[in-house]
């Protein structure tokens, strides 16, 4: 029994040393004292619930001792943990002092064991979580979402009707083109304006706008109608420009205009 025990402790000591040496080169790889403790606890190869905190404390202190020998700079929190574990170790080894206040060594050890178990549990959870099917890796959302949110900025849209109407508009315009050429009985407002601008300077007194119709357009009713309308529209345009004044004494009475420039100048 006793031999076995000594053998066991020797083996433990070797394991501890190996662990410490293996870990020491990589001290930066640990995320704090708790992480280091958790790694050390693996050498015990037991359920974390049954872990020997006393043994773990020894391992940790040995690790810190080794680090000191190798003159490795340990972060302050590693040293704080070492001091606390040294205190815990003494509490666990010495019989309880009835004078002393505060939690017992067992209570402290239990809490540390809880912390280790909890950290390990969270790591397992993290691994399980990342092992789940993930959006964008194992399953996917709609590749062409349709526009149903209000956060959308300005988008331009048109429907088929707009498109067809737009085209129809253009093509209708196109269809007019050839007919413009053979519209020999149409006098346009542009033509009327051009004619009147040339003549208006002479219109000092009120003149019937009929007198501005182009020569030869008075006879044919179709031509006369078109020319009268164009001339009337052109007269309004000239009035708007302030070049002429227009008057009509009554409905269907002749329309007269005269130049304003003569008056002003």
């Amino acid at each position: 029994m006793a031999d076995d025990f000594i053998e066991q402790s020797k083996r433990d000591a070797v394991a501890e040393r190996l662990a410490a040496e293996a870990l020491i080169v990589d001290v930066d790889g640990f995320e704090g004292p708790l992480d280091l403790l958790l790694t050390l606890s693996r050498t015990q190869k037991v359920d974390l619930r049954k872990i020997s905190i006393l043994q773990l404390s020894r391992q940790y202190l040995a690790f810190v001792e080794k680090a000191k020998q190798l003159r490795l700079e340990l972060a302050a929190d590693y040293l704080v943990m070492a001091a606390w574990l040294a205190f815990l170790k003494s509490r666990l080894l010495l019989p309880p002092d009835p004078e002393e206040e505060g939690p017992s060594g067992e209570e402290l050890a239990a809490h540390l064991a809880f912390q280790l178990e909890r950290l390990q549990a969270m790591r397992d959870c993290a691994a399980k979580l990342m092992g789940r099917d993930q959006l964008g890796r194992n399953f996917f959302k709609r590749g062409i979402p349709e526009d149903i949110t209000k956060t959308r900025v300005v988008t331009y849209t048109a429907n088929l009707l707009d498109l067809m109407q737009g085209y129809a508009r253009l093509r209708t315009k196109d269809e007019f083109r050839p007919f413009i050429l053979d519209r020999d009985s149409i006098w346009t407002m542009e033509q009327a304006l051009e004619r009147m601008r040339g003549l208006i300077g002479y219109a000092g007194s009120w003149t019937d706008i009929i007198s501005y119709l182009p020569d030869g357009w008075e006879k044919d009713p179709k031509k006369r109608r078109s020319a009268t309308a164009a001339t009337f529209a052109a007269s309004l345009e000239l009035a708007k420009e302030g070049k002429v004044e227009i008057r009509q004494s009554g409905i269907f009475e002749p329309i007269h205009l005269r130049s304003r420039e003569r008056d002003n100048g």
Partner: protein, 231 residues
Amino acid sequence: MAEETATDPVTDPVEATEEEEQSLFEAPPIGEQERMIEALLFASAEPMTLRELNERMPHGADAAEAMVHLRKRYEGRGVRVNKVGDAYAIRTAPDLGFLMQKEQVETRKLSRAAIETLAIIAYHQPVTRAEIEEIRGVSVSRGTVDQLLEMEWIRFGRRKMTPGRPVTFVVTQEFLDHFALESARDLPGLKELRAAGLLENRLPPGTMPSVSEDEDLAEETDEGQSELFED
């Protein structure tokens, strides 16, 4: 499941070498293929052609057959499988469009200039800027073309083999997609537009539109499009 048994040569004792080879790559059951194209169409950022689908599916799968099943399955559903050009995409059923429009407050109508330009490109593609200007009768602003390019409703086509080798414009699959057209050939012709009352008959009294002109137009449209839409 079927895959496992199929790859087991023991279950196929009769067939010769060719058949054996075949069995190594046996296609998944059609129901499984239908699930696959369903997932692919759903996740893809672009409409997918049968060829693209087949490329992504296991060896031996037949996207065309699976598509028949899938399209049937979505008949009358809230979404359906639309053919867009020679590709397929899942789209909201048109009668439910009103559900999506609720918050399209910020969408604006395309300007008249843009719509006309777009219409000309759709009906006359491939078409150069000069040709668009000739039809519209006004110059086409850079902004209008840029806007349509940016919306990805038009893109550059082949250069014309005329002096200066001007670039042409054609409509895109996005355009077809947006207007729910399988191809630009589905655009109604002038006669149909007139029949639908979309062409106002504003011709001056006493003039008759010449029949030949209408025919010319129809021909021209066909010719222009044939380059892009040949079967």
